[in-house]
Symmetry: C2
Subunit: 198 residues, 2 copies
Amino acid sequence: MRKGEQTRQEIIRKAAPIFNQRGYDGAALSDLMRATGLEKGGIYRHFSSKEALAAEAFDYAWRETLDARIHDLNTIPNTVDRLKQLVANFVERRGIIPGGCPLLNTAVDADDGNSVLRERARKALRGWRSYLISMIRAGIKAQEIRPRIDAKKLATLIISSLEGAIMVYRLERTEEALRAVQAHLDSYLETEVRAPSK
Amino acid sequence: MRKGEQTRQEIIRKAAPIFNQRGYDGAALSDLMRATGLEKGGIYRHFSSKEALAAEAFDYAWRETLDARIHDLNTIPNTVDRLKQLVANFVERRGIIPGGCPLLNTAVDADDGNSVLRERARKALRGWRSYLISMIRAGIKAQEIRPRIDAKKLATLIISSLEGAIMVYRLERTEEALRAVQAHLDSYLETEVRAPSK
């Protein structure tokens, strides 16, 4: 990697927690300068605008977050067990990028505002849901999941309830909501989603 | 109501959508002036700071939002039916204050930032959850809800999954996630929460 590209990646990595914690408008140039140790010119030599940097920072934060949630799932053979592990990963691996879930933060921050960030968040949501839908459909095909399960609805339910629990967790700073949602999803996956063993 | 108090309430009412759509940092004085039709001095004669105005605007936005979700529930005699109507109200009455759910917005906006707003959001969450917990406990007492149901966990599940679905809805601008969560909660309430009739 060339030196310029290295610096660019370093700026993205250090800017990500700032945007994730303070939001787009709240992330001041002075915060970004402090975090990166660079002057304004040193930062904007690598990015055309604050928006361009925020978009890269979001993509980085989301990639790291999603990776923490899914990177070890492929070793689990059964799809329902894999979904349960994904829920557990979501609940337990929270601090990847300081500030909470980048998808939730950017979705709420950008839904009425910045259209570039909104599009990145939409893409992140679509990607995550597609990943879940593929997993669920494969589980139906493998007869590990009941055939009447609607893959898109189940994926949406998992994402919505976990992201909502993150909001409650961030406000209360206790795990209660995350654990309540995890217990509910686990029980639902066992009793309504898992195909009866033959 | 005295003239000064009327103006104060009018400022709160007009500032609420601005803060709800743009967040605390994103709500510029120029936006607030445009919305209220007042000069800076005319606004800050009634509030000690932007923070004080934002806090009042949040309380107003939340009061209106919660009221829309619950105001007609008392006419429904059975507790499980009342919970199902609350879920339906949440899904259907979304546009009370432009910008989405004030609780979700302010929670995400303030969780790493403004401590006054964070405290208001915490209080709103606690109040809403207490309302749900009381309703569920009364339902258990009335033998309309199974005695093994944990009122706090059920309240948390309802709040988390609906708020998460609002995030998805706001990003996608389709009702799909809200309807998927509603269908799931309805089915759960019928099959696992409602006490079997004697």
